[in-house]
């Protein structure tokens, strides 16, 4: 519940800022109308960027992969000895 409240308050602050900008007319009117769409597009872009960066930095841990294969072979052996059908081999 608390995270939703935080997001909601952030949204309220941003809309208040936007309405304030509209009233004060420092920037030409057509610009202020475009601002929310710009923010939504940039938010989507930021999400995509984070996904791409995470993909690029994903670690593969080759030693862990080897240890895992050894564990799997050991477990298959053990189960076969006990008489359980392990399926694909």
């Amino acid at each position: 519940m608390k995270h939703v409240l935080k997001l909601f308050s952030l949204l309220v602050v941003i809309s208040a800022l936007w309405i304030g900008l509209l009233q004060a007319s420092i920037i030409p009117r057509t610009h202020t109308w475009l601002l929310p769409i710009y923010f939504i597009v940039s938010l989507g872009c930021y999400g995509l960027l984070m996904v791409g960066v995470g993909l690029m930095r994903f670690p593969t841990c080759p030693q862990e992969a080897l240890l895992l294969q050894k564990d799997i072979a050991e477990a298959k052996d053990f189960l076969k000895k006990k008489g359980v059908d392990v399926g694909s081999d």
Binding site: P28, T30, H31, L34, I37, Y38, I40, V41, S42, C45, Y46, L48, L49, V51, G52, V53, G54, L55, M56, R57, F58, T60
Partner: protein, 80 residues
């Protein structure tokens, strides 16, 4: 294997960064430039700056709803 992952990640970052710079240019910088500058030839007219994101958002939302509907229908068929 990880090379393919890294290539996809790089493609995603590149696409997102290029979309971001193009859109920033379009919406924020271009209106302040004189209307007979050469740079205007590289950017579509300003109405498209609103149309394209809105259309993309509508398409995305409808695809999402279709997907959710399909999943619900499939689960109902399996139960019955």
């Amino acid at each position: 294997m990880e090379l393919a992952d890294r290539a996809v990640g790089f493609l995603l970052t590149f696409t997102s960064l290029s979309i971001f710079t193009y859109y920033t240019f379009w919406v924020i910088i271009l209106p302040f430039v004189d209307s007979d500058n050469f740079i205007h030839n590289y950017f579509l007219p300003q109405e498209y700056a609103i149309l394209i994101p809105v259309c993309a958002g509508v398409v995305l939302l409808s695809l999402l709803c279709i997907f959710i509907g399909l999943v619900l229908l499939k689960s109902k068929k399996k139960k019955a």
